[in-house]
Subunit: 754 residues, 2 copies
């Protein structure tokens, strides 16, 4: 054995994967169930000619679920709203966000997300799956719950911040894996977007976690549909474990890169527009809600909004398709010159016509006299294009959009109408109070404009089928590339998006055009605005530290190498002494809310030098343990013999017993002039962190930034030549706006920059 | 514009991608040409019944190329030998390896690799492609060449170590992308295995570089075969851009994870055996060659060895298949119970029978009377299984092994013979002096035992074809999973191997079993031995610093948190003063070969504190610039006004003018007692690195390790409480064997550990 084999860690990773996979399965099946009931019932009404009743049912059903989804969040668990992705990203970057890893949040998220997506809101389950995965990772690995007040006696060694963070990362990756059936995509998504700290060891463990998560959800989803068993348990069915499986993929061509680049440009433009509009919408909503004085009214509005979204969506779904004619199927036999209409039982394009027969006759197209083989459907061989896009779940719409050899399945009118509706409805819906992600809706939007471009190419150059030099001109392939481009224009992820797209569609042949669209969309998008999720972080005031500093003043990148640590540091610093006077310490804790305090040690020459760092929580624990407070004068402990410290590591890690609201009162007892502790001292030697980093004043700001972000430091003490504390740099000092302001001022005064 | 758009950097990335892609294309075509000539000519002899002549031609042809491939390396450019992967990995980790990025090495590598693989040595082109890609990255981005003595006036801003390293990483990724047609795999391989430093920005740029590299090589390879045009330029042909394309992929089943895990175990066991044997072989060769006194004889032996490999391989290829009967084709119609023999023109299994007709009649199987449609081949409907594996290029063998619905195409005998031959011949060949990688041979070995397991399953449970619950029992699918397992057992990479396998085969359906095999192979392998490439690094004495420390004493992981920086630091330290006496400085440079020196500054209180770090190269440049040497006493420069430094940044970066051999003489002039400079001083203020890190003696060793590896530091100075230098930690102090020794000694003396 050449390295440490941590069986328990792998088991925990497997457990997290299994739990998240199961969760993904439940979510998927419930959504399918709710969705199927809505569409099939509405369709029955329409088939009977009862359009008004159908619309009423459709709207009422959807609105009920939407209100329920919002109510769970608004009334019970506000932390379950939105996608949760920014909060988890912020947490993994080193920011504490409250209540996001509680079981209650998990339940609320699950219920809200299921109801909202099931009823057909234009949102996706992936953001919530990520958040739920993170909660699973945190909950299972820590084995404790504040809600249920228990603590399991297993896996105790994982109860430390680093392991917790790693298991949360695994949960995030498993969430994406289970939602998309994309294990590699999940791993890469977590690495690229969510995690700030990564190692090869962690990569392997998360890899394993993703295998288990995807296997679990794929296996169960292959065996059940709407909780009813389909097929024999154990077999993975293509249509169930590859979400938008592409049949008959086409070979690519060098010319295909031109439309792919155009799609990339569109993705960048529309993605930026999407980001900007969504943020404007969110800010507008926030402002308006803040201006309302009654908290009850605010809550009502936050219920009503999703219901309103669903009223609009339902009306669109029911009525808009009626504005479009039912058009006949057009099959494309191998001889492209003769496009035959009304080919209901044509076998040249088997998958295509079958799928349409079974799924698309529903809307208002007349029932016909043709009898379809194998089923009991009657059809007049026509279908409604817009109903394919709006009058069904998004997954169905996606499959149709990606369909190959179906060049004229959708015409411009329905595609444009669908694009406009989805684009704006997603912007609106994604900011409402329900638990919602935007990944699948992004794919729909991209697929719509991708197919429009594909159709234009077909209109110019004609229909070319299998195996010809021009067969790459397939609108279904461009729909796929369009999805990737919009995804990239909004989220700006490279290998993650590529992997997810491949794993979603099983079409590796279009890999290079997809990658081209992704990179072009990133270029265009970067020119226009920030990535969506980073903009959300800013909007939510989460102090996220990028890997690399990016400070722009007067439209120019600022070279942080030209500045020093002392230019940005905060000072004066609140410090504590190695042997600290108890009332003074309590007063400091009362006066300042800082989380970390540099500890000073007095040298024989009288200099007080930087000796380490101690956190607020550690100081509070010490004050709570009265036996470490001793009447002075106190001799410093010999620090070569620290195992005798009276407070154990566990107790330190657990933090203070007093709740936050009570701390002020608790501290006050030490400060009172008649306090029992007025002459007591506390020796910090055994508890301070002597491996806290410090840098000299002249240290380059760029390197200081790298140090803090690469090592995930919360405090970096700045010292002078003889090691005396001059200042301190924290995460907040390195936020973009703060750096721009401080460095801008310096640039104006220092002659070098003129 | 919200961030800096570095157009020139993207252009350079594109250029590197294009150049590497083109190189990949040339390599591929040349290898195809050399290989085709060998097999077709030998086959003609065999067809005419001239077995002895055929064998002689085959051997002579192969041996000539093998000797040539070795000669280029041995006589001209030793740095071009082997795969080059450890050297590049070591360089990107921060170790300087000489001559590896020269144009001569590129040419030698290309020629040697082409000749060796073309003639059929059991090696692969991927390692050399990685090295050549790295050279391209270094050469193009720096625009300078020592060989041709030129320096281009473009892209001057990339001439710094960080950018150079990034472009080299891009070249590496492009090399894998072009060799495998795997852009995402290339990116991930570079990230996981080769690069030690990575950022999201770099990831995007390399992503782009990989798109260009893959597109270029795929496009040209689709349009040319052996440099003759095939098809219309511009179209990507599946069989040419997806190396081992899988047709008719099968749906997976939960039961499939059992054999996949077994393959994982086999991969771990055989992969470790492979690693250990290969290293033993290499060490044995080294020892034997070192014991030979005549350098001429050593060179001859290093020529002859590859020729010997080829003699054995050729004899195997020609004679061994004769020991096996030619067996009739067995087609598998959809009704599995009736397996029909002699189905030459059977269309039930179109791809399968066509491929065999065209490619497999060659060996000694008799010409028949059946006439095949579409070609002019006559066939008696039989083929030789072992000839399929040995008497053709490895790529052909791979395609046959991965073939689906070809359950009984290979029987146990030929598979076992092939496995044994490849396993040992690859171990032998991979250590010879030619430029060679082992990635494709690894895939062959894995595919062979994968197919054996698949065949066993078929023998136990019978043949099951398309769409049935048991159709997952396809030996071709298990061959693919076997390849992944062996690759993982040897190299231990997670997402990289998975992506490469998917991009090589276009079979996403087996993704989960592949991942399972990969992770199980890693577990088993980790229990037995180090990853192959890391073992090679150690063998080549490249001081590679892992991301995470892994020190094992008495079979237990050592907690580095329990040690301090002062436990491992080297002392006393050779330091220089901020105002240094010139002869003293020269003497220090003569006496010590250190690369970096802490600079001391005297405080008013007499303490000499740590002020920064200066490199040997910088000190030499200063001594070469006589105008910075001034007769004493010298006042220190005001360090708020450093722009007036007489030596520019460029000159410092370029390093000393004197060649290494001359430096001693150069330094001697300062030391001579009658030197003109005996009273001169030099002020280092303007040139030292004030952002050099220092840590206190009590700083945790674990954090010190993380600091050095995460930031890529070469020196970490250890200081005491009043900032005086106590020691220094360099990369070498953190190497495994050194840590084990030092910490082992400490553990014996310190009571805590008893």
């Amino acid at each position: 054995m050449i390295s440490n084999i941590e069986t328990d860690r792998w088991i925990m990773m497997g457990l997290i994967g299994f739990a998240v996979g199961l969760l993904g399965f439940l979510l998927h099946q419930l959504i399918e169930r709710i969705s199927a009931l809505k569409w099939s019932t509405t369709k029955e009404f329409l088939d009977d000619g009862k359009v008004a009743v159908g619309w009423m049912f459709c709207s009422a059903y959807s609105m009920a679920f939407a209100v329920f989804a919002a109510a769970v969040v608004v009334l019970w668990r506000p932390s379950a709203g939105g996608s949760g992705l920014p909060e988890v990203t912020g947490f993994l970057n080193g920011t504490q966000v409250k209540k996001i890893f509680s079981i209650k949040t998990l339940v609320a998220k699950f219920v809200s997300c299921t109801a909202a997506i099931g009823c057909g809101m234009p949102i996706g389950p992936e953001g919530p799956m990520i958040h739920m995965g993170a909660i699973m990772g945190a909950g299972l690995s820590q084995g404790t719950s504040d809600v249920f007040k228990f603590k399991l006696p297993f896996f105790e060694r994982f109860r430390n911040p680093e392991d917790r963070r790693n298991f949360i990362s695994a949960g995030v990756a498993a969430g994406v894996s289970a939602a998309f059936g994309a294990p590699v995509g999940g791993l890469l998504f977590c690495m690229e977007e969510v995690s700030s700290f990564w190692s090869n060891t962690l990569s392997w463990q998360i890899f394993f976690c993703c295998i288990i998560a995807t296997s679990t959800s794929d296996l169960f989803n292959s065996s059940f549909q709407e909780f009813r068993q389909i097929g024999t348990f154990g077999g993975f069915q293509t249509s169930r474990y590859i979400l938008f499986n592409v049949y008959d993929a086409v070979d690519i061509n060098i010319l295909m890169f031109i439309p792919s680049a155009i799609l990339g440009v569109l993705g960048g433009l529309l993605g930026s527009a999407f980001t900007i509009l969504n943020l404007k919408m969110t800010r507008f909503r926030k402002r308006r809600l803040a201006s309302i004085s009654s908290p009850g009214l605010v809550k009502v509005i936050r219920f009503v909004e999703p219901a309103l979204v669903m009223l609009v969506m339902s009306s669109f779904s029911v009525f808009l398709p009626m504005a479009f004619k039912c058009i006949p199927y057009t099959c494309l036999p191998s001889d492209a010159s003769t496009v035959s209409d009304f080919c209901v039982n044509d076998t040249t394009n088997k998958y295509d016509s079958q799928l349409r027969e079974e799924e698309e006759t529903f809307h208002t197209c007349e029932e016909g006299t043709h009898y379809m083989n194998g089923t009991t459907l009657f059809s007049n061989g026509t279908y409604n294009e817009l109903a394919l896009l709006l009058f069904s779940s998004k997954d169905e719409a996606m499959k149709n959009l990606y369909l190959r050899n179906s060049h004229r399945m959708f015409n411009y009118g329905p595609l444009f109408v669908g694009l406009i509706i989805y684009f704006f409805m997603v912007i609106w819906a994604a900011g409402t109070s329900v638990a919602a992600g935007i990944l699948v809706p992004m794919l729909v939007i991209g697929a719509l404009y991708g197919r429009i471009l594909g159709l234009m190419i077909v209109d110019i150059f004609g229909v070319h089928l299998d195996q010809s030099y021009w067969s790459w001109m397939d609108p279904g392939a461009f729909a796929l590339i369009g999805s990737a481009s919009f995804f990239s224009g909004v989220a700006r992820l490279a290998p993650a998006i590529t992997s997810i797209m491949m794993e979603l569609t099983n079409d590796l042949k279009v890999l290079l055009p997809v990658m081209t669209a992704v990179v072009v969309a990133k270029w265009v998008g970067d020119y226009l605005t920030h990535p969506f999720f980073h903009a959300l972080l800013e909007l939510k005031c989460i102090p996220f530290l990028n890997q690399q500093p990016n400070v722009r003043i007067n439209k120019k990148n600022v070279q942080l190498e030209l500045f020093t640590a002392s230019d940005i540091m905060a000072f004066p610093v609140v410090t504590v002494n190695l042997i600290e006077h108890v009332p003074t310490l309590a007063q400091k804790l009362l006066d300042y809310t800082h989380n970390g305090f540099p500890v000073l040690k007095e040298l024989p020459n009288g200099n007080c030098i930087f000796h380490g760092l101690i956190t607020r929580s550690e100081l509070l624990v010490m004050l709570e343990n009265k036996d470490v407070l001793k009447p002075g004068p106190v001799e410093p402990l010999d620090d070569s013999n620290l195992d005798i410290a009276p407070i154990g590591y566990d107790a330190m890690l657990r933090g203070p017993v007093e709740r936050e609201q009570m701390q002020e009162k608790f501290l006050q007892q030490f400060v009172d002039s008649n306090s029992h502790f007025r002459n007591h001292y506390v020796d910090l030697t055994a508890y301070l962190n002597m491996s806290a980093m410090s840098v000299p004043c002249k240290f380059s700001l760029h390197r200081a930034y790298t140090l803090i972000s690469a090592l995930g430091l919360r405090h970096l003490t700045v010292v002078d030549e003889s090691n005396q504390v001059k200042g301190i740099i924290t995460r907040k000092d390195l936020m973009g706006f703060h750096m721009v302001e401080t460095l801008g001022n310096i640039m104006e005064t220092r002659p070098y920059f003129k």
